[in-house]
């Protein structure tokens, strides 16, 4: 197969309309997948409250501005129309009704309260469009005492146990980098959304989806939770070591802060490893010849591994280990990642041009490739960029009325 080069005569979600109230990370990342494969998305913002990522530095030339941030774009990579709409204005409510009638899917990522206040809870949406699909995603879900609490991905790594599972045994946990879970929760939403769209196709019924990002992310660590429920065990971080492999770690290589990960599981891999570091005798050495002996003498083993790796370049270590049938991987920096030939093969970095931030190669498509469908990217939209098209062409609002809406700050 030839990933990403599939044909797209008529994309599957052609004709599916998405009204997108989401912002920040999880919501937009979720909705993007519908846009990649043909859905029409209208992102709703307001001048009073633009997408929060529009205010995140770094900015073009260091000058803040809603179109100048470099990170906003990372979440807005599928084709999207962008409109502004003041939901507090009485006239805004009329426009919303028209937009909901147009939509098949309404998506939002606020804590409980915001959509209700705007009269956009599921019951109300259904009155306007009986077979509407509504995706709601927030940190704690839309029931329970924490439903009104704002959340973000910097917290969820803590709540989901991933932080406590990342660290050295002799220190407080290091935790994960960045808003890691903002890249897990959306994948669940894509699964729910597409399943719901197919269900609606078959049954004609709408669907309400309430994602607690916490509840989705916990799926990934469910064995750890079962271990507590069943065995009363609280698993903790243990550096890079695991119980059933050695050597298993990240080893310093030649150069400044250069490293290579090596993971030896089987007898054959252990033999291949010893050949590679030119110490075939090690394989027979009673301190290291069995898994149990290697685990027992792991500190000493790690020293021997690093005595060798530190004299070789990381890429050479990886290639020689791989040639010997041992899993090994360079610890890539952002520079290495930008040049990684495998990521290149999958078009991981897409270049797009934006009127304010210029040409950037920081945009990413879906995490899979389909043999018969390509995907479409879109540059991040500007605030209210498509007001004219959406309000006058799509909703058919006369020009004079459109101008009045602008003057009255409805849009």
């Amino acid at each position: 197969m030839d990933p990403g080069k599939g044909h797209m005569e008529k994309p599957p979600f052609d004709g599916i309309n998405v009204l997108d109230f989401t912002w920040a990370g999880v919501g937009p990342h979720s909705v993007n997948y519908l846009g990649f494969y043909g859905a029409t998305i209208i992102k709703v913002e307001s001048h009073k409250r633009p997408d929060v990522l529009r205010t995140l530095a770094p900015f073009k030339d260091g000058i803040p501005g809603v179109e100048r941030g470099y990170y906003f774009g990372a979440t807005q990579v599928a084709p999207r129309y962008d409109i502004t709409l003041n939901l507090d204005h009485p006239k805004g409510k009329d426009l919303i009704k028209k937009l909901v009638s147009w939509a098949d899917v309404v998506a939002e990522s606020w804590a409980t309260g915001a959509m209700e206040k705007a009269g956009l809870d599921y019951e109300n949406l259904k009155k306007i469009k009986p077979n509407i699909i509504m995706l709601r995603t927030c940190m704690h879900g839309h029931t329970g005492p924490l439903s009104k609490q704002h959340g973000h991905g910097f917290l969820l790594t803590g709540l989901s146990g991933l932080d406590e599972l990342t660290g050295w045994p002799d220190r407080p946990p290091s935790g994960l980098y960045g808003a890691f879970t903002d890249h897990i929760a959306p994948l669940f939403n894509v699964v729910s959304l597409v399943a719901a769209i197919d269900y609606r196709r078959r049954t004609g019924k709408g669907v309400y989806i309430d994602q607690s990002q916490h509840e989705s992310v916990l799926q990934w660590v469910s064995p750890v939770i079962l271990d507590y429920f069943v065995n009363n065990r609280e698993e903790r971080a243990n550096g890079n070591r695991i119980a059933y492999a050695a050597p298993h770690g990240v080893y310093r290589c030649k150069g400044d802060d250069r490293w290579c990960a090596i993971a030896v599981f089987t007898d054959a891999e252990w033999a291949g490893f010893c050949e590679t570091i030119e110490k075939p005798g090690l394989a027979e050495d009673s301190r290291f010849s069995t898994l149990l002996s290697r685990k027992k003498n792991e500190d000493e083993l790690d020293k021997i591994v690093e005595e060798w790796t530190v004299n070789h370049r990381d890429e050479e270590v990886m290639k020689r280990m791989q040639a010997a049938g041992v899993a090994a991987g360079v610890v890539e920096t952002s520079e290495d990642q930008a040049k990684d030939p495998q990521l290149e093969q999958y078009d991981f970095f897409h270049e797009m041009e934006h009127p304010e931030t210029g040409k950037l190669r920081t945009y990413h498509g879906p995490l899979f490739r389909m043999s018969k469908l390509s995907y479409e990217m879109g540059r991040p939209p500007m605030l209210g960029e498509h007001n004219d098209y959406v309000y006058t062409k799509l909703l058919g609002i006369p020009d004079e009325e459109f101008v009045r809406l602008m003057e009255e700050e409805v849009i």
Binding site: G144, H152, G161, D163, R171, I209, W220, F368
Partner: protein
């Protein structure tokens, strides 16, 4: 509670799940939504039944908690697809299936004559989703992979961990789950597409792509814009300020993980309108309890400009928070934060998650019967609350060959003699 509803969003569909422990999660998610997922494992039991932890620490193939967690909502059969009879039986199953999931090394199924092309000859609508470390093509395609090496090659390791030690990965492997979860998404998009075209296709989900994406915008962004390399900094956020070239990029560092009396908490002083009250509320609390520096006492968060604020100022501000947290327990901090509308969280272990009130109130945990052990066990439940056709646990993970008779005899029409022959021939 096991759901009474028999309908799920994916009820009409059948999934054949050939995956190893790298891909179990994919079929589990489809099963949660009601698909009829059949886990196909080797005669005698899947090697991944040796993946721990285990029920009561008994390393029995029927007691792997890893197997239980990720094979829930599936039926199970044994089948050796490396044998001729096994392949023929598999092809029969493919005729009536919608999706095949696999996580073998690239090329393995092709070698057995069970690649996508062959399967689509049998059933043009079949969708094959492949979960791998690096994908079906490219220079790393045949690289041996493990969780740690993918995490490293995808860029996450370099930014994870403490600055004075080696790059780090989580002690519970999650790299392949990016591929497993997104493969489920891809398979469903293919399924929807098939409704209009009648033809299936192949999904190629490489874990490296997902883990690289999870590095977020900052790491690749600062390289692209400023030729700056983000380094690991533990619980400190080095927040990029301004700069268009590497020479003049500046950072302001703030702690976002704070040690407290009995563990750690996360708090980030965001100042967008939605989060400002939380940051101001936290500040008031620190002032009330007498931990605030003079700088924090007179600090106006709403006027803070992250672009220009000095490190010295932020040290004085955040230092007050650090001192405050150290004198309190996680429980005290959590309770106070709830009363004051402050958004923060304790770093939870499994115990903390099990006791997290919001999850219990939302009835997240589901009690699942294990009649073979005469017990019932609490599991994480639905990954989303879905109306009409709920996401729910409908059955525990299958025992070895538990549904062999049901599928081979009732569905495929093999006689008991044939079943016995297949078993004795180690085909099932």
């Amino acid at each position: 509670m096991i759901s009474d509803s028999t309908e799920g969003l994916l009820s009409p569909y059948r999934v054949l799940d050939l995956t190893t422990e790298r891909g179990f999660l994919c079929g589990k998610l489809l099963g949660d939504l009601g698909a009829d997922v059949i886990k196909v494992e080797r005669p005698g039991g899947d090697p991944a039944r040796a993946v721990g932890p285990f029920y009561h620490d008994e390393p029995d193939p029927e007691k792997s908690l890893y197997w239980w967690a990720f094979n829930i909502n599936k039926r199970g059969i044994t089948l050796d697809i490396e044998k001729v009879d096994g392949r023929e039986i598999f092809k029969k199953l493919v005729k009536k299936a919608d999706i095949v999931l696999e996580s073998f090394e690239p090329g393995y199924l092709q070698k057995l004559g069970l690649g996508y092309d062959k399967l689509s000859d049998i059933n043009p609508g079949i969708i094959v989703a492949s979960i791998t470390g690096f994908g079906q093509i490219g220079p790393y395609r045949d690289y041996k992979s493990s969780d740690l090496t993918i995490w490293s090659l995808a860029g996450e390791a370099y930014v994870t961990g403490d600055p004075d030690r080696a790059p780090l990965s989580p002690s519970f492997p999650v790299s392949y789950f990016f591929a497993a979860t997104s493969a489920a998404a891809g398979a469903l998009i293919a399924l929807y597409h098939r409704a209009f075209t009648g033809v299936g296709q192949q999904i190629d989900a490489p874990a490296q792509l997902g883990v690289a994406w999870a590095c977020g915008p900052e790491m690749p962004g600062l390289w692209e814009v400023d030729r700056a390399i983000v380094k690991r900094s533990g619980g400190i956020w080095r927040r990029a300020q301004t700069g268009a070239t590497c020479d003049d990029i500046k950072y302001v560092s703030i702690p976002i993980v704070f040690p407290c009396k009995d563990g750690n908490v996360r708090f980030v002083p965001f100042i967008d309108p939605g989060m400002l009250p939380s940051t101001v509320g936290m500040t008031k609390w620190v002032i009330e309890e007498g931990f605030a520096s003079e700088t924090l006492k007179s600090f106006d968060w709403s006027a803070l400009d992250w672009q220009t604020v000095t490190q010295e100022t932020m040290d004085e501000v955040m230092g007050s928070f650090s001192r405050f947290f150290l004198t309190h327990t996680k429980a005290e901090i959590w309770e106070g934060a709830q009363q004051r509308g402050i958004t923060l969280c304790p770093l939870l272990t499994a115990k903390g998650m099990a006791e997290y009130e919001q999850l219990s109130i939302r009835e997240y945990w589901e009690e699942v019967e294990h009649p073979e052990l005469e017990t019932s066990i609490k599991y994480p439940g639905a990954f989303a609350k879905i109306s009409e056709a709920p996401c729910a646990i409908k059955r525990r993970a299958p025992l070895i060959g538990e549904h062999n008779e049901e599928i081979y005899m009732t569905e495929l029409g093999f006689s008991r003699e044939e079943l016995l022959a297949l078993r004795q021939g180690r085909i099932i």
